[in-house]
């Protein structure tokens, strides 16, 4: 079964590369992320699959907003190339990627490195994470216990990208009007009422993912994205510009500071060893902070794209 899914995966990736029009590219890319999510799921990584699903919807939204901005550039008709060039183009576009993929497959099959198959670290983590870190989900105990530096720097990376998006926008905040903010997305009554029913389910499911992060798949990042997608639906319902970016950005930076302080106090000062009864509380609190930070960041990026980057 997994081989068939992998073939679909590669096929959709090639389709996305081959697409001539930008809309087709975006649709194929959405299919690609769908199939990659189910591949991750079947291969045994439900956390990664959840993150992929949640992020893929956001990335599609960002891409389509950018597409709307550059639509006139895209629809300009390019003249057909002369006939002797068509063969060369086909060779470049079809034969070379397939040959490269085949070469990679052969390399992966025949030259598996010997040392990579060592199971020492995996056995160590799997046998000891319950006693050393706590929690029942090994992934959460790894990214909040053993690899807490990774989590800190990922949070810092998201913060930097949010700051970059916020400071490279084209317009000032005072120039935005409600009409411009709404743009082409005028929903009709059926959309508004249905999405109003669905919105609370998203919020509740996000909170469920966050608070159950240490015992089931999910966690801070996935829950945060789920909570942020509630705000996409809010945009679809309301169409009114009432976002204050300054306050949200201040909140986001404060949350990042709280993450750093909590991790530093609990892990690096050794409270972890002294108070083992607080470990579950630490994981829940850390997941909650990460989710707040991620959702604030995604809200800022989404509203910036919608309000500031459109024509």
């Amino acid at each position: 079964m997994i081989y068939v899914l992998l073939v679909f995966w590669v096929t959709s990736a090639i389709l996305a590369i081959q697409a001539r029009k930008l809309v087709r590219l975006i649709v194929y890319l959405a299919i690609f992320s769908t199939i990659s999510a189910i591949c991750f799921f079947v291969l045994g990584a439900p956390d990664v699959a959840m993150a992929e699903v949640a992020v893929s919807s956001f990335s599609t939204v960002f891409m389509i907003v950018c597409f709307e901005k550059y639509f006139t550039l895209v629809t300009e008709v390019t003249p057909d190339p002369p006939k002797e060039k068509i063969f060369l183009m086909r060779f470049r576009k079809l034969v070379l990627p397939i040959a490269f993929t085949g070469l990679l497959a052969v390399l992966f099959v025949y030259f598996i490195p010997e040392g990579a198959a060592s199971t020492y670290l995996r056995d160590l983590y799997l046998s000891r994470f319950m006693f050393e870190v706590g929690g029942e989900n090994a992934v959460t105990s790894i990214y909040l216990g053993y690899r807490v530096y990774d989590t800190l720097f990922e949070a810092l990376m998201l913060l930097i990208s949010v700051v970059g998006v916020a400071h490279m926008s084209w317009r000032n905040e005072s120039e935005i009007t409600d009409e411009q903010f709404a743009g082409v997305t005028k929903s009709d009554a059926v959309d508004v009422y249905t999405i109003r029913i669905i919105c609370p389910a998203m919020l509740i499911f996000g909170v469920y993912l966050i608070l159950n992060g240490h015992i089931s798949p999910g966690g801070g990042f996935q829950g945060g994205v789920a909570v942020a997608s509630f705000f996409i639906c809010r945009y679809l319902i309301h169409n009114v510009y009432d976002v204050r970016f300054g306050k949200i950005m201040i909140f986001e930076k404060m949350t990042f500071a709280a993450i750093v302080v909590l991790a530093a106090v609990f892990i690096f000062f050794g409270f972890y060893v002294q108070f083992p009864q607080f470990r579950t509380a630490y994981m829940i609190l850390m997941n909650l902070l990460i989710a707040m930070k991620v959702s604030f960041g995604f809200i800022i990026i989404f509203y910036r794209y919608i309000a500031f980057e459109r024509r």
Binding site: V23, V53, T60
Partner: protein
């Protein structure tokens, strides 16, 4: 197990329809059909292995699958009218 193979065959046919479809809307239709099939596939896998936590993934898919379709339709709709 037979269910999974049938669903995979359906997905293959949908992908062919998506590639072949003459308009953008056909492609979007194929995309949403594939996401429906993915939900069904996850439920089938979870039922075979009898694990309840796998269904969280189907829930997250059912919740977020429609956002991308909504945005693509909204943003293409008005641009399509003038220049096809």
């Amino acid at each position: 197990m037979y269910v999974i193979w049938i669903l995979l065959a359906f997905m293959l046919l949908y992908i062919i329809r998506t590639v072949q479809g003459p308009t953008v809307w056909d492609r979007l239709l194929g995309m949403s059909l594939i996401s429906v099939k993915v939900i069904i596939l996850i439920i089938a896998i979870a039922s075979i292995f009898d694990r309840a936590y796998m269904l969280d993934y189907a829930i997250i898919y059912a919740l977020f699958g429609f956002i991308s379709v909504i945005f693509i339709t909204f943003f293409i709709k008005d641009r399509m009218r003038g220049n096809k």
